[in-house]
Amino acid sequence: MIVKVLGPGCRNCKNLERAVRAAVDELGVDATIEKVTDFPTIVGYGVMSTPGLVVDEKLLVSGRVPSAAEVEDLLAAVCTP
């Protein structure tokens, strides 16, 4: 699974990345975490307020930092269709 954290590098984006790493570790899934800092690409995913969370090219969260537990639920839902 490919997880992308969208944001130019402000504090919210770093918090989201931390939550994502924690969630991935907790679930023990095989995931690549990428950071997207390029504005046209960020907006291309439909994100207008950062940070954004994209899993397998699907936008799941934008404009707020979900807790690690919430990210875990979101990722778990993607893993078990």
């Binding site: 402000c10 907006v43 291309g44 207008m48 307020s49 950062t50 936008l59 969260v61 707020r64």
Partner: protein
Amino acid sequence: MSLATRMPTSTRGRWITLSVAAAAWAGAYWVNEHLWDVVFYDLLGMAPTDRLTQSLHFFFYDTVKIALLLSGIIFVITILRSYMSIERTRALLGGRREGVGNVMAAGLGVVTPFCSCSAVPAFIGFVAAGVPLGVTMSFLIASPLVNEIAIGLLLTLFGWQVTLLYVAAGLSIAVVGGWVIGRLHLERWVEGFVFETRLGGQVVDSTTGLTFNQRVQIGAEEVVTILRKIWPYLLVGIGVGAVIHGWAPEDLFTEYAGPGNAFGVLVAVLVGIPLYSNAAGILPLVEALYDKGLPIGTLLAFMMAVVALSLPEMILLRRVLKPQLLAVFIAVVGTSIVAVGYLFNVLLS
């Protein structure tokens, strides 16, 4: 453990928790009203008329008062604003003509939750979705200029008349400024990639589907985030305010920027543009200067210049605006602020 999971889930438990928090807040506010009189005059035996006493009293009293006011205001406003989102704002603005669009954009700029770090994606998202440039600019001007935190603080420090003036002036500047930029047809001065950006098919609304407890959590987090970010500005602002309150002679500022000086507003705006603070940090200073006899129009213009035109925001906007358009933006907003300052000074003198 997050706050959202610790909050009671029943409606009744939730209201009890929030009521207890509100009562604690009001109690702390009441204590602060009297605490420093007791500390300085009774315990330390300092004379209330002494300059040092006045400065120290102002500093401690104002620091606690502003911190309490900010916490309360940010918490409530963030929860209210969590029912609005930038995605909904864009949907409302899409296909609007200029004029009506500018007015709507300015109003929405005030109520939409928005952080300056999102200025660039929001700009691209608006323009690429076909919102006219001028309408987008109205939104981008109103958003920092008519700051909801400033509204709350002005209301408690200066009363509703000044607050109303501030909101009306800020909205007018945003509407007129955006409209002028739209009429000038300056699309060629927007960086080309903005128009080439292809929008994804899916839009996730940032705030729908949250539970009330999650919104409370977001509100509490926002209080911590903002206070952590602005406390240095706040202390500097209150510190300078305290020195002015105790030590500055009555006629020091009125001589240079008082009602008698025709260039007062202009000077205030020129001083304000390079200063970077936020409304919360600048208001204690404004309060102290007001006590020293500076006219309110000059002070509002000063505050708006500090808040709306700042270097970090300009650097961000430079990513999407070419230098020419950025210059037009600064000129239009700066001129409007000066005009508003003079207008208020005339109306209120």
